[in-house]
C-alpha cells in the first residue's frame, strides 16, 4: 500500500519525465513501460481502468522517441503517461462512460483535450473507470465494478472520476483527466490524496466529453502536485471554436505565478462549509490550512456565502434535467447496445432498461419530471433562479476576497456500501463542491494532511471566473506549507 505522504513525495514527476524525455536522457518507451509495469502490479486490486491501452501507449511512446531522435520537441508533456476518464472520446479506442449502453461503441474522433495532450507529447495509457455517465460520488455506480481507493482498498476513491484519481494516487500515471459536473474531480482528488482542478466553465473545451450536465460539465486534471496540474490546464485549456461555450482566450498563465505566494491576498473561509455536516477532523485540517495561509501573509477571514446552502437542491434539478435530454440519444438505433424487439418503440425501451444502471435511471426520471409541463417553473425555473443567487452571493464575496477556502469533501473516503442504500447521503457528499459548478467558477482540491482515520483530507480553493492565477497561488502555498 502506498502511503499518502509517498504520493506527494513523488513530487512533480510529470515535469521530471518531460524534461528528461525532451533532453533525450530517458526514452518515452522506457517511461511508459515502467508505468505499465506498476499498472500490472496493482491494477487488479485497484481497478482504476476500464481499458489499459498498452499497444497504443507503446506506439505513441515510440513516436515521441522518434521525434526526439529527429531533433524535434515533442512538447511540454513529452513521454508523460496519462490516464483518460472513460467519458472522453478517444479515436479508435472504446469509450464506455462505464455504461453497458455504450457497449461496442468506438469513437471516430478524439476529444479536443485528448488531441491537445497528445500534441504536447503525453501518452495515453488507459481509459479510467467512473460512475456511470459521471453520476455518483464513489465510482460504485460503474457497470464494470467499483474502483478501490489505493490508500485503503476497503474504501471508495470518490467519484465520479474515481478511476482517474486512483490512477494518479497508485502511480499508474503521473497525471490524468477527469470531468467535474458537481465535484467529480475535486472530491475523488480529496479522497485519494491528489491535486484535482475544475477550471472555469468555458476555459477547457467540452468537445468529445460525453455530456452529463452540459452547463456544468468541465474537464480538468489530476496530478500529484500543483505545478503539474497547472501545466496540464495550460495544455488542455484555451479557446476551441468547436465548443460554442468556449471562452475565446488562452487559459490563464498559471504556471508562471506558482511561486508568487499569498502575501497581501485576501482569503475567505466559507462559514456555511465549516459547520454542520462537516466531520470535525476534516474541519480541523481546513482551519490548519487557513492558518498556514495567514502565516504566509494572507488576510484570512470567515465569510458567509448564504446561497451555497441551496446548491444541492438546485443542482439535483439542473443536472438531471440536462442529463435526461443528453442521455436520450442512447436508444439502440445508431450505436451501442441494442436489445431487439418487435417494434422500434419497444426496442428503445428494452435497450434503455437493460443499458442504464439504477442511478442513471433515477436521474433521467428526476430530470424528465423537472422539465415537464406544469412543473418546469416550479422546478427547473426555480433552480435557474437559485443559480443566479449563488452567482450573486459568490460575486459579493469576491468583492472582498481574492479566493475562498473550504473542505473539498465533508468526510474522508468512506467504506464501500456506506452510502449506496441512501442516495441522499451520497448526494450530500458533494455539498462543498456543487455550488462552484452552478456558478461556473474554478475550484481545486489540494491534499492537506490526514483525517483521524489516516485517510487524506482535501482543502478546496475557490476563485471567481477566470481567477485561476489566484487559485493556483493559494494552492501552491498550501502544498508548500505541508512539506
Amino acid at each position: 500500500m502506498t502511503a499518502p505522504q509517498e504520493s506527494s513525495a513523488a513530487g512533480a514527476a510529470a515535469l521530471t519525465i518531460a524534461a528528461s524525455v525532451r533532453s533525450g536522457e530517458r526514452s518515452a518507451l522506457e517511461v511508459v513501460k515502467e508505468h505499465l509495469e506498476v499498472i500490472g502490479q496493482r491494477e487488479t486490486e485497484v481497478h482504476a481502468f476500464n481499458l489499459v491501452t498498452t499497444e497504443h501507449a507503446l506506439a505513441a511512446a515510440t513516436a515521441v522517441d522518434q521525434l526526439v531522435a529527429q531533433g524535434e520537441d515533442p512538447g511540454p508533456l513529452a513521454g508523460v503517461p496519462v490516464a483518460i476518464k472513460d467519458n472522453l472520446c478517444t479515436r479508435g479506442v472504446a469509450t464506455t462512460c462505464s455504461s453497458k449502453i455504450l457497449e461496442g461503441w468506438v469513437p471516430p474522433y478524439d476529444a479536443t483535450v485528448v488531441t491537445r495532450l497528445a500534441a504536447a507529447g503525453a501518452i495515453m495509457v488507459g481509459k479510467t473507470n467512473m460512475d456511470e455517465f459521471a453520476m455518483g460520488s464513489s465510482t460504485e455506480n460503474s457497470a464494470f465494478g467499483p474502483t478501490r481507493n489505493p490508500h485503503d482498498l476497503g474504501r471508495v476513491p470518490g467519484g465520479s472520476s474515481g478511476g482517474s484519481a486512483a490512477a494518479v494516487a497508485a502511480g499508474f500515471a503521473p497525471i490524468s483527466l477527469g470531468s467535474d459536473t458537481g465535484g467529480s474531480i475535486r472530491q475523488p482528488a480529496a479522497l485519494c490524496g491528489v491535486v484535482g482542478v475544475k477550471p472555469t466553465y468555458g476555459t477547457v473545451s467540452r468537445l468529445g466529453l460525453v455530456a452529463f450536465g452540459s452547463s456544468l460539465d468541465q474537464v480538468g486534471p489530476f496530478a500529484n502536485s500543483v505545478a503539474e496540474a497547472a501545466l496540464v490546464c495550460e495544455v488542455i485549456g484555451g479557446h476551441d471554436p468547436a465548443d460554442s461555450t468556449s471562452i475565446p482566450q488562452a487559459f490563464p498563465a498559471v504556471s508562471e505565478h506558482l511561486s508568487d505566494g499569498v502575501a497581501g491576498m485576501r482569503i475567505g473561509l466559507i462559514t456555511e462549509m465549516m459547520g454542520e455536516g462537516i466531520a470535525p477532523d476534516v474541519a480541523l485540517r481546513i482551519r490548519a490550512a487557513a492558518e498556514a495561509l495567514a502565516a504566509a501573509g494572507a488576510e484570512v477571514e470567515e465569510v458567509s456565502v448564504p446561497a451555497v446552502t441551496y446548491g444541492l437542491s438546485a443542482y439535483y434539478l439542473v443536472a438531471p434535467a440536462e442529463a435526461s435530454s443528453n442521455l436520450s440519444r442512447y436508444d439502440g438505433v445508431r450505436y451501442g447496445l441494442r436489445v431487439d424487439a418487435p417494434t422500434t418503440g419497444e426496442m428503445m425501451e428494452l435497450t434503455r432498461t437493460a443499458g442504464f444502471g439504477d442511478e442513471v435511471k433515477r436521474r433521467i426520471m428526476l430530470g424528465t419530471y423537472a422539465l415537464s409541463a406544469g412543473y418546469y417553473d416550479a422546478f427547473y425555473g426555480t433552480a435557474l433562479k437559485v443559480r443566479t443567487l449563488i452567482r450573486r452571493d459568490f460575486d459579493q464575496a469576491y468583492e472582498r476576497f481574492d479566493a475562498l477556502l473550504s473542505p473539498t469533501s465533508p468526510t474522508t473516503a468512506f467504506a464501500f456500501g456506506d452510502k449506496t442504500a441512501d442516495p441522499m447521503s451520497m448526494y450530500l457528499n458533494d455539498v462543498c463542491t456543487i455550488a462552484t459548478n452552478l456558478a461556473g467558477h474554478p475550484a481545486m482540491s489540494v491534499p492537506y494532511g490526514l483525517g483521524d482515520d489516516g485517510m487524506p483530507v482535501g482543502a478546496q480553493v475557490l476563485a471567481p471566473a477566470l481567477g485561476e492565477v489566484a487559485m493556483f497561488r493559494v494552492a501552491a502555498v498550501l502544498e508548500g506549507s505541508l512539506a
Partner: protein, 477 residues
C-alpha cells in the same frame, strides 16, 4: 363547393417550413444537399454521437435575418431550446429549435390583392432525417423494419408562422405563392415544394360570420403543392361545417391530406398537448445579431415582389392582377426597361400578360420589345403579325421591323387601305346594302376581299372599322 360563404367564414393560418439554402447544416460542417446516397452527408453531430457539440452556422442566421427583414419582422435576441421527443430520425431524440425567443418576431406580408397577412414569428430550427417503414402498415408501430437516412438531419429550417388572417383556399395559395416569391427573391430558398424545400402545415377552422371566437382548428399535414393546399382547405372546411350542422363537436386533430382520395384523414388527436419538455440548449449561447449586421443585411436586400408590383402599376398603368402575373414571371424589369425606351404602356402590359409565357422572354431586348409595341399600337402590324414577330423575337432576337420584312409584313398606308375599301364597296353594291342593314355574316365577305387584295397585309379589325365608318347615317338609324 357547397359552402355557403355568406354564412360561414373559413379561418386559415399557415406554418411554412423552408429549408435554408446554406452550404452546410445548421450546426455542423456536413453538406446541406438534396438527394445523394443515404447517410453520406453526415458527421458525428449529424448522428448525435456522444461528445459531439453544435456550432451555429452564420450563413443560416444571415438568411434567417434576410427573410425576417423581407417579412417586416423585428429581429430579436434569440435563444435555442431543446424540443425533446423520441423518434429514430431525430438522432439525439431532441430537436434544437427556438421556443420562447425566436430570431424573427412580429411582421407582415402583403398579398397581390393588397390584403396584409400577419406573421407571428419566423424561427430557426434543425430538420430531421427521413424514416422509411417497411412492411406492416408502413407506420413505425407495425413495420417489419425501418430504415433511416440522416442526410437531411440538421439541415437548417426557418419556420414561418402566419397569423390566422387567411379566409379561403385561394387566399392561402396566394399567401404561399407570395411567401415563396419572397424566399426566392432574398436567396433563402429555392422554393421547391416537391423537393420539400418548402413545407406547408395548414390550420383550418370555421365559424359563422359575426362569431367572436375562433372555431376549433385542425392541422393538415402532407400538403405538397399549391393546388393541394387549395383543395385541402376546401375539403377540410366543408368537413367541419358538415359536422357542425350535424350537431357534432370538432375535435382538435392533426390530419393528413391524401392527394389521391382528395380528403383529409385523422392522424392523431391534439386534445392533450404533447409535452416536449423545452429547455434552453446548454451547448449554445444566446444569439444577438449586432445592429451593424442587421443594417448590412437590410442594405443588401433586393426589391421584393410587392414593391415590384406597385412599381409596375405606377409606371405602366397595369392592373394589380396583371402586375402580379408579370412580376411572378419576372418580366417586370423587361417591361420597365421597354417603357424607358418609349414603349406603348398598354401594349407592353398586354403582351407581357398574354404573349410572353415562354421563360426565354426575360432575355428579350427591351429596346426591340419597345419598338414592336409601337408598331403594334400604330397599326403598322396587325395583331396577328405582331404575335408572330414577338414569338420570333423571343426565340431568335433581332429587330422587329426586319422580322416583319422577312415575313413580307408590309406597312400598309391607311390611305391605301381606304382606297381598297371604297373600291370594293363600289364593286359590290348588293353586299354593301346587306352590310348596312346589319347582316353580321357579310362582314367576313368584305374583310376576306380586302385581305386578298392586300395579300394579307391589312388588319381585320381596322378593315371592319373602315367599313363601319362608311355606313350612311340614315342606315344606322
Amino acid at each position: 363547393m357547397s359552402i355557403d360563404l355568406d354564412v360561414w367564414e373559413i379561418v386559415i393560418g399557415l406554418e411554412v417550413h423552408t429549408e435554408l439554402a446554406t452550404r452546410t447544416k445548421l450546426f455542423c460542417a456536413a453538406p446541406n444537399e438534396f438527394g445523394g446516397e443515404p447517410n453520406t452527408n453526415i458527421d458525428p453531430l449529424t448522428l448525435g454521437l456522444p461528445g459531439s457539440l453544435p456550432v451555429l452556422n452564420e450563413q443560416a442566421v444571415e438568411l434567417a435575418i434576410r427573410v425576417g427583414l423581407a417579412l417586416n419582422c423585428t429581429i430579436d435576441r434569440s435563444v435555442f431550446s431543446r424540443k425533446n421527443y423520441f423518434y429514430p430520425d431525430q438522432p439525439t431524440n431532441y430537436q434544437i429549435s427556438q421556443f420562447d425567443l425566436p430570431i424573427n418576431g412580429e411582421g407582415w406580408l402583403e398579398l397581390p390583392s393588397g390584403k396584409v397577412i400577419g406573421i407571428e414569428r419566423a424561427h430557426l430550427e434543425e430538420d430531421t432525417g427521413k424514416s422509411t417503414h417497411v412492411g406492416g402498415g408502413g407506420r413505425i408501430h407495425d413495420a417489419t423494419y425501418s430504415l433511416v437516412d440522416y442526410n437531411r438531419a440538421g439541415v437548417p429550417l426557418l419556420e414561418i408562422v402566419g397569423r390566422p388572417d387567411l379566409r379561403s383556399g385561394d387566399e392561402a395559395r396566394a399567401y404561399v405563392s407570395e411567401l415563396r416569391a419572397i424566399l426566392v427573391a432574398v436567396g433563402a430558398s429555392d422554393g421547391k415544394m416537391e423537393e420539400g424545400s418548402l413545407r406547408v402545415d395548414c390550420n383550418v377552422s370555421v365559424r359563422r360570420h359575426g362569431d367572436a371566437e375562433l372555431g376549433t382548428r385542425c392541422e393538415i399535414k402532407n400538403i405538397n403543392s399549391l393546388r393541394s393546399l387549395g383543395r385541402a382547405v376546401d375539403y377540410e372546411a366543408e368537413r367541419q361545417i358538415d359536422m357542425i350542422l350535424a350537431g357534432e363537436r370538432i375535435e382538435q386533430q392533426t390530419r393528413h391530406w391524401n392527394e389521391d382520395e382528395g380528403r383529409t384523414l385523422k392522424l392523431r388527436s391534439k386534445e392533450q398537448a404533447d409535452d416536449y419538455r423545452y429547455f434552453p440548449e446548454p451547448d449554445l449561447v444566446d444569439l444577438s445579431p449586432s445592429q451593424e449586421w442587421i443594417d448590412r443585411v437590410r442594405a443588401d436586400l433586393p426589391i421584393l415582389p410587392a414593391a415590384r408590383r406597385h412599381r409596375l402599376c405606377e409606371q405602366s398603368g397595369a392592373e394589380i392582377a396583371q402586375a402580379a402575373l408579370i412580376v411572378e414571371r419576372g418580366l417586370d424589369d423587361l417591361c420597365l426597361a421597354a417603357l424607358s425606351f418609349g414603349a406603348d404602356p398598354s401594349r407592353t402590359i398586354t403582351h407581357a400578360e398574354h404573349n410572353l409565357s415562354d421563360p426565354k422572354a426575360v432575355e428579350l431586348d427591351p429596346e426591340m420589345f419597345a419598338k414592336l409595341t409601337n408598331m403594334d399600337a400604330q397599326g403598322t402590324l396587325s395583331s396577328t403579325q405582331t404575335k408572330t414577330v414577338l414569338a420570333e423575337l423571343v426565340q431568335l432576337g433581332g429587330d422587329p421591323a426586319a422580322i416583319a420584312d422577312t415575313h413580307g409584313f408590309k406597312a400598309m398606308d391607311s390611305g391605301e387601305l381606304d382606297a381598297v375599301v371604297d373600291q370594293l364597296i363600289a364593286e359590290n353594291p348588293e353586299q354593301w346594302q346587306r352590310f348596312c342593314e346589319g347582316d353580321p355574316k357579310i362582314s367576313g365577305f368584305f374583310v376576306g376581299k380586302v385581305m386578298k387584295a392586300t395579300q394579307g397585309q391589312a388588319d381585320g379589325k381596322v378593315v371592319t372599322g373602315l367599313l363601319t365608318e362608311r355606313i350612311p347615317t340614315t342606315a344606322k338609324e
